[in-house]
């Protein structure tokens, strides 16, 4: 931006409010955030154990995990509200460990909105600017642009008690980005909202993040939310990072049973590696069935482990009409059917007595067996992963 007059003259009247807003906020792109062995210890318990990652400038990075996994503590260390017991926190190479929260310059959004109840929405959004001593005229311009960006420009004179939860959270987002922070931290921002609104706001957050090129560190326990929003997700459990990767990678190629289960329904069948050549592993279940997995790594024959496949990768077939060759196959008896709307989820008892879950899309063309019916299950080795034995 070149001073205050940087908005293009004439364009203002034509653009829709939020487009105009993006033009005038035009954040300098986000900055990279580096976590090097970040550790938090409470008493004898290691709450966050050596968190290592480099979040790229403009990246949307989520911390995903059940409660008590250390995701919020990690965020609090980044925000400066929890001391870093070991490790380093770098923004564009500068160590922030000793910098108090108010001087780290991060934007922050909280689960309970944390809208100041004694200020109207304009003053709420203006707060970070006034705290920085910005001149009044510029404050007015920036606040108007930020409120337009979340499409709440018309509510600037309202108080929190006059707004819905979704509106309050949008104001909180405007407040977190109005001062063009290099990194925005979000602590379960949609946790208190109902499902449909949550999805709408996900779309809105993603849109704003992409348009402003913000770096976002996002905490959630909702795996769909994390997958929908993130460029990369870190799955945490009991203080440790289980896996970091793009949503699709962690969903389809989990590193271990925890990640596999946490991201959705997962079939995990115990057994051992029979043979392994580069690209293809043969795996024998306890009942003797041999199945295959596309796996780039080579594994020693005899290694115990679990075969992983997602329920939606499985197709159900009548036993009399088995699928073509070249795929993994199991047969069994349908024990349960749960109607979930877009899919029907079947529990099929296989020869070994293990229950395998298979999702059949709710379309007429698909085979929908009766309870007690014998069926064949088939899926591709490309959808199959061999995991190390579940440590838990």
């Amino acid at each position: 931006m070149i001073g205050r007059g940087a908005t293009v003259p004439g364009a203002v009247g034509l653009a829709r409010p939020h487009e105009r807003a993006a033009a005038s906020i035009s954040a300098p792109a986000g900055k990279a955030l580096e976590l090097q062995g970040l550790t938090k210890i409470y008493g004898s318990e290691t709450v966050v154990d050596r968190f290592d990652t480099r979040i790229q400038a403009g990246e949307f990075f989520s911390l995903l995990g059940p409660s008590g996994s250390g995701k919020t503590t990690t965020l609090m260390m980044v925000a400066g509200f929890a001391a870093i017991d070991a490790g380093r926190l770098l923004v564009d190479g500068v160590d922030l460990a000793a910098v108090p929260p108010e001087r780290r310059g991060f934007g922050m959004v909280f689960q309970n909105y944390a809208i100041f109840p004694h200020m109207d929405m304009f003053e709420n959004v203006a707060f970070p600017l006034r705290a920085r001593g910005m001149p009044k005229a510029l404050v007015r311009e920036r606040v108007a642009a930020a409120l337009d960006l979340v499409q709440l420009g018309h509510l600037s004179d309202r108080y929190a008690r006059q707004l819905s939860g979704g509106q309050q959270q949008r104001v909180a987002i405007a407040r977190a980005i109005v001062f063009q922070p290099p990194v925005v931290l979000m602590d379960e921002p949609l946790g208190a909202l109902d499902k449909n609104l949550r999805y709408d706001l996900q779309v809105e957050i993603k849109e704003i993040q992409r348009r402003l090129g913000m770096t976002v560190l996002y905490v959630t326990h909702d795996q769909e939310e994390a997958m929908n929003l993130s460029d990369r997700v870190a799955i945490m459990s009991r203080g440790r990072v289980e896996q970091i990767g793009a949503p699709r990678d962690v969903y389809e190629r989990p590193a271990n049973a925890f990640t596999a289960r946490f991201l959705g329904e997962a079939n995990l069948l115990p057994g051992a590696v029979v043979t392994s050549c580069p690209g293809r592993v043969a795996f024998q279940l306890r009942d003797g069935t041999v199945l295959h997995a596309d796996d780039p790594s080579t594994r020693t024959a005899g290694t115990e482990g679990e075969l992983f496949v997602r329920p939606e990768k499985l197709t159900l077939h009548p036993l009399a009409d088995p699928p073509r060759d070249g795929v993994n196959r199991l047969s069994g008896t349908v024990r349960r059917a749960s109607f979930l709307g877009s899919v029907v989820r079947y529990a099929v008892e296989t020869g070994s007595g293990a229950l395998v879950t298979a999702d059949a899309p709710n379309v007429a063309a698909h085979h929908h067996p009766e309870l007690g019916e014998r069926v064949a299950l088939a899926w591709s080795p490309a959808d199959t992963v061999i995991l190390p034995p579940d440590a838990a």
């Binding site: 925000a79 400066g80 509200f81 108090p100 929260p101 108010e102 001087r103 310059g105 991060f106 934007g107 922050m108 909280f110 309970n112 944390a114 100041f116 109840p117 004694h118 707060f127 970070p128 006034r130 705290a131 920085r132 008690r161 909180a172 407040r175 977190a176 001062f179 931290l185």
Partner: protein, 277 residues
Amino acid sequence: MGRDRTWLLLLPALGLLALLFLGPLAWFLARTLFVETAPAEVPALFVDVLTARSMQVAALTTLWVSVLVTLATLVIGYPIAFYLANRRGWRAALVVFCVIVPYFTSVIVRTYALTVVLGRSGLINELLGASGLVGAPLALLYNIFAIVVGMAYVLLPYMVLTLYATMKAIDPSLLRAGRALGASPLYLFRRVYFPLSVPGVVSGSLIVLILALGFFITPALIGGPGDVTVAMLIERAVEILIDWPSAAVMSVVLLTATLILFAIYARVTDLRRMMGA
């Protein structure tokens, strides 16, 4: 189920209030203003009492002392309440103990105890004299200063507890949000914490003001001869001058002032609830 009868639980308390407060008050006012005084003389009586110089001086003294006491408790009580609202553990418990315990001690005992501290050869003057800071002992007792110190000491718990309740209700995540968004601790206090504690400041001040207006023991024991409050004037009218009609008029005036303040207090407290505090 039939009608809600839970109000019956209040009967003993209402009975006590009627028997010991409302009854005697009504009887006293009715008797002095309507039986002992001719109805036609009542307005003149009010005018006489209200225009009397002694009453006007006493009213001003009462108001002045009450305002000073309110300010003193606010200035001393705000930091204490802030500490209590933001700390836990044995230190906070100890502070609560120190604030509350005097509350359970007789006001007379506490007021006399102050004479030991404030007197010409009291603790403070001894210390000041020994340190050579002052040549002659300071007049700390039997003046407005002594009254304010004594009353503030007695009324401090009301201020602290009222402020504490308000501060405890301030959402800590607001403070965290403020800091995360770039506010220094001082700026945060000025723009967020203090404004949110104002309802407590208002209610605490009103309650101390209300209680201070009717104070009798402390000003009577450690005030100077010229420091006469309305409550002391009433006592003199009853005990020494045996002028019950004047006492009744002054009581009505004091009671009215108190009730007006109480109405404001109730309104403010209601507002607070509406704000969700």
